[in-house]
Symmetry: C2
Amino acid sequence: MAETAALVLDVGGTKLACGVLDAGGRVLAAGRLETPTSDVASAEGLWRTVLSLLDRFDEAREGRELVGVGVGCGGPMRWPAGEVSPLNIPAWRDFPLRRRLQERYPDVPVRLHNDAVCVAVGEHWRGAGRGADNVLGMVISTGVGGGLVMGGRLIDGASGNAGHVGHVVVDPDGPPCACGGRGCLEAIASGPKLAAWAVAHGWRSADGATAIELAADAARDHPVARAAMERAGRALGIAIASATHLLDLEVVAVGGGLSQAGPLIFEPLEDALREHAKLDFAREVRVVPAALGQEAGLTGAGALVLAGGRYWNAD
Amino acid sequence: MAETAALVLDVGGTKLACGVLDAGGRVLAAGRLETPTSDVASAEGLWRTVLSLLDRFDEAREGRELVGVGVGCGGPMRWPAGEVSPLNIPAWRDFPLRRRLQERYPDVPVRLHNDAVCVAVGEHWRGAGRGADNVLGMVISTGVGGGLVMGGRLIDGASGNAGHVGHVVVDPDGPPCACGGRGCLEAIASGPKLAAWAVAHGWRSADGATAIELAADAARDHPVARAAMERAGRALGIAIASATHLLDLEVVAVGGGLSQAGPLIFEPLEDALREHAKLDFAREVRVVPAALGQEAGLTGAGALVLAGGRYWNAD
């Protein structure tokens, strides 16, 4: 049997990533570039950038038979139609990304899902959730996203939006959320919200008040920075307790920038989780750092076509 | 083709229900009796009571071919082994209910699940969730339980415990919960907790301080009774908002005694849900009263064997 490969793409607000996976999900080649800034990029200009990236990596197949194209993209989107309106890419509003790619690659399946869903799928297929059947994958970054694998299969929900763990309510009287609600996990634990809380409580930033800087200050025992990490970690633990009770999860894989902060975030997370997840079955849940780093999204995008029986339930 | 039927059983802390369903899930015959009180019932005594009930309804098949036995039972339990330890039936601890029934009916599948899961399955198969693929079924009674159907299939979780919506955290600093946690939905919105809150806030009961009595007083505009219903309804709305964001649900079917209170509970529920469920996809969720009433549990138990392709994922 000839060797096969999938072409994979991950479209985010800051980075465009592209790569080639072998049939087993190994990344044979990958690269990324800055997403062209919104005020100069037109819908078609961005599409041409994507095409040139795909062309470059399509060559990296080195003769392996192309079996499909898998794509992760920032939401919201119409799914499974794949008409995308990524929050941080104003140039694309209802852009028919899946159809355009299908026209470009007419002989193979082209499948597209939310980028956080792809991260969760990647972690289940080849990362920290491997071997478990019931997994929540989370990405804590400028937002808090996620995806769900239950009974070994990706859960899509009514419109492909299952996995929005960032909008689990962790404090009904908590701060307003960008979604219009209040007290969502994302309103407390996303990088920008976390840093903003620290600034409001007296933390002075030397360099843009990012969550990365905040984590570094917390590691140096800055009291407000530590309190901010504690607050975010506890919010994560409460949301994970709720999700675990509702879903009887085995593994929660936590990725994204903030997860790099290690014990500063995972210790308060575990404390709050264990205070709230008291039912016998819920005590069994394991919260682990994501394992695939930047490759999770591409790996999961590949799984949509390379392991579609488990990870693709649409047409 | 000969007509077929399933024998169904629902084992609860207060009632034992039994019945016969035709292949389409219609209840051909059903009856219930009080669960023998815990302090006089032995494990084997209760088993004999169950057997006599089954024998009686097995006759009601009237010659239809028996295709399976479906059982709902109060948790906790080892699932799918079906070794049950219902919270309110102390006589049964690790009682091998599924195995005993399989020995009694060796020629057909015997399948058992959590009673609240069976209610959710019943409502999805033949009730308020019919036609939707992503449904949370809830039972608000002495506890708050539930079950989940996603992508048209029952979700079990790692150990058959998916659906424990009663332990979604709605107020992290809220009242202690029987599970050992704090601020769970059940600690606020279950019938007994709701009534206890009203008593603590000055409501005087004439008749045992039940949630039914409380609902009646709320309907008569008693201010504390109304405040209690409002508080429970809001807690339900917050939990449903979290579940909807996490799961991209289409329908939430709410049953159990408290759901009988109608607008007194559904209005504050809707208000809180709409305040918190703001993402576009989440606005689409519909919260509806359960449709099958007392027959939901038996109908869902029947679905485990009559529609096992969708509702039974175990051995």
